[in-house]
Symmetry: C2
Subunit: 181 residues, 2 copies
DNA sequence: CTTACCATGTAAGGCGTTACATGATTCA
DNA sequence: TGAATCATGTAACGCCTTACATGGTAAG
């Protein structure tokens, strides 16, 4: 009932849209979900086997491809399980920013160090923003081609807005550190 | 050298400012760090023992109090270890929002469900913002009383800015779901 | 007197990453 | 032919949360 393992739900969510291999699931996650959810092969492959054994998905070998591909398909059971989880209240939204942790203790290491962390943070965000903008463009254009795109766009907009705010905060933080208020 | 356990660093960071008991460490974390870092007693107490055995902190019983209190103090070694960690580049900033995950798969459960999650998210943020504003006021007023406050304020400002952005996104998301773009 | 909070710790178990191990295929 | 990428999986290990276990004290 409760205790839905998140990795199962993410995989089922991706499978609800299309058949995928474990490798492709990882790619999809890295492309679209990495800003708010991540997973490694070491959790994906065991989870896939587990989903099959619980009747949430089926596995078949891809005979077309020359490669050793295992294609996974969601079952009706799996779809119901996914929908049930989606209808349950969110249990946890968690942010773990080591940058903020190091900044919080900045008095121990001094302003120079704090500035280095802020600039590194800024750089990382500036590098990632273009990918989000690109996704925004693609999704906005294809909004009516696929009903799911509206929901994807929602999360992309979240990323863009928060990242832009991060950049504003970086500027403000630099000012505060420089001595002014 | 590398592989600094974060829980050790957080504890040392808190101890660098003042002597504390395990219980107080938890309180401090819940009050000031919970927005970007969390920890349970089950990780704090073992970590404290470990820090003592590695010479990063010392432990003494509080004889003044009637209670069974163990007071921890950072050592020079501990302070060096902390400073070293603070000078190292950030390894990972991670955001794990189940809300965004459920929204991403929103096409499976429909608009009504998506709206429910957005409203719940909005409510949670609205409830937490006042605490951040309160911290902002206190810290701004006492900025010159303690050099560390500047750094605390930095993280509080981050929280306020991002939370405000979250609320704006909620509005926008509701509009997008309502059918418009 | 009883509830809330102070205070410390352990044990089990879950969850997931990293590293390892292996090998095929595509493309330059 | 060599590098990059496709492709699947396992094992060890680390880290943390949850639940359990215990008891003192302050305040109403």
């Amino acid at each position: 009932m409760a205790n839905e393992k998140k990795i199962d739900c993410v995989i089922l969510g991706l499978l609800s849209h299309e058949e995928l291999t474990g490798y492709e699931i990882k790619k999809r996650m890295d492309a679209a979900l990495k800003y708010f959810w991540g997973a490694s092969y070491g959790s994906i492959y065991p989870a896939l086997n587990d989903l099959v054994s619980r009747g949430m998905a089926t596995k078949r070998e891809d005979t077309d491809s020359k490669r050793n591909k295992q294609i996974y398909t969601i079952t009706e059971n799996g779809r119901e399980y996914l929908k049930k989880w989606l209808s349950l209240p969110v249990e946890k939204d968690e942010l773990r920013y080591e940058t903020l942790l190091k900044l919080f203790f900045g008095n121990e290491s001094g302003e120079k160090q704090a500035l280095i962390h802020i600039e590194a943070f800024e750089k990382k965000i500036e590098e990632e923003l273009p990918y989000l903008f690109h996704a925004q463009t693609i999704l906005t254009q294809s909004l009516h081609e696929d009903a799911a795109h509206k929901y994807y766009l929602l999360t992309v907009e979240f990323g863009i807005k928060t990242y832009q705010t991060y950049l504003e905060w970086c500027k403000q933080a630099r000012k505060l550190l420089a001595g002014g208020q």
